[in-house]
């Protein structure tokens, strides 16, 4: 919630205390974060005990404690997992979404369905159900991606028009593109 409210800000410092003496520090201006916890893995469902937010010019860490992690990775995790049962609270009803920036996928825990869906969103505006249908995944799966990309500020919301039919634009006879299905076939071949 705090991170979503920071969209558009330049400098802000977010200090999040978690249970078990864990904490997260977010330097919004630098788009970095640090995390200290009792286990090596980032908790999937952390219990937040306190959130402190410092906004305004200069709200940055005065020095780098140690090598930070990129904030986008944290936002991706939060976006994917924090709203398990449905859309993130800030997302409106009946919207379509279009990608405005590709996430740095190699630095995020992802699978190739995420890549495929993101490619679809890069080429056209789709609702969650349209995205799920076009990519062959469950709607909840598509919703989680939308939540994550939205939190990361990498989606544009488009007011939905009439339902999309998979109409074909009539052109001169066009042969089936040779790359049709290549993603699926190559993915299978590469075993990912």
């Amino acid at each position: 919630m705090a991170m979503q409210s920071l969209r558009g800000e330049t400098d802000a410092l977010l200090l999040i205390d978690l249970a078990d003496d864990a904490f997260i520090v977010v330097d919004w201006g630098r788009k970095d974060y640090w995390w200290r916890g009792s286990s090596a893995d980032f908790p999937e469902s952390p219990t937040v005990s306190k959130v402190r937010l410092f906004r305004g010019d200069g709200a940055r860490l005065p020095f780098m404690l140690e090598q930070p992690s990129e904030l986008s990775a944290l936002m991706w995790l939060v976006g994917l997992n924090a709203f398990r049962t449905g859309p993130a609270w800030w997302l409106g009803e009946g919207m379509r979404y279009r990608l405005s920036r590709w996430p740095d996928f190699t630095m995020l825990a992802h699978d190739l369905d995420d890549v495929n869906m993101t490619a679809l969103l890069s080429k056209g505006a789709l609702s969650v159900n349209e995205l799920a249908s076009a990519s062959g995944v469950e709607p909840m799966r598509a919703q989680r991606l939308i939540n994550a990309l939205s939190l990361m500020g990498q989606l544009r919301e488009v007011v939905a028009g009439p339902p999309v039919e998979s109409a074909r634009v009539e052109t001169a006879p066009v042969s089936i593109p040779v790359t049709r299905g290549l993603f699926k076939r190559l993915r299978a071949r590469l075993g990912v």
């Binding site: 190699t106 890549v115 634009v169 052109t171 593109p177 790359t179 993603f183 190559l186 071949r189 590469l190």
Partner: protein
């Protein structure tokens, strides 16, 4: 007999990791055209590609993805011209420890602008373990300024990392497929 061939180009400055990237992905032992590097004061590498690198991935009985690496130096740009004619898509690799790497990336994209404008390019930024900045976001900002109608993926990559290179390649292929099927999708 191969029925379907998909040519993917790997381009970018010398030392960015093009040859390594193809080697990471290729099913076959790569064909290389390396020669002794006369300019070790410019890039400290013993050898450099002077014609092309070639690797391939066999997708099925009648389908291959062909991976071509072009030389990085501009004096070999006739090879870029030859190979980009045949390419469906391109991976541009840029090493983040080059001087002014974003300007370098934009310079290379200009030479392959048709592929960029068709949405058939993915940018991979290598050596971010050496130079963390600029970030992929910084690259994406600059590319968006130059090509406002296209969304170009920019990823951090280690060309030796097979999982990362698979993500890069599949992202490119997903973009190519989507590009061809937008004629069918009502937007």
């Amino acid at each position: 007999m191969t029925v379907a061939e998909h040519v993917i180009l790997f381009a970018g400055p010398m030392g960015a990791g093009k040859t390594t990237a193809i080697r990471t992905l290729s099913d076959i032992e790569m064909v290389t055209t390396e020669a002794a590097n006369s300019e070790r004061h410019v890039v400290d590498k013993a050898t450099t590609t002077v014609a092309l690198d070639y690797g391939e991935i066999t997708v099925g009985d009648e389908e291959k993805v062909r991976l071509y690496g072009v030389p990085g130096q501009k004096r070999f740009d006739f090879m870029w011209t030859i190979l980009k004619e045949r390419a469906k898509g391109m991976v541009l690799l840029v090493n983040n420890d080059a001087p002014e790497p974003i300007a370098l990336a934009l310079d290379y994209l200009k030479d392959f602008s048709q592929l960029v404008e068709n949405g058939c390019v993915v940018v991979g930024v290598s050596r971010r373990d050496i130079n963390r900045l600029p970030t992929p976001d910084d690259y994406a900002d600059a590319i968006a300024d130059a090509y406002p109608d296209v969304l170009v993926p920019v990823f951090t990559v280690d060309p030796r990392n097979v999982d990362q290179m698979k993500t890069v390649l599949l992202t490119l292929v997903a973009s190519l497929e989507r590009d061809e099927s937008t004629k069918e999708l009502v937007q």
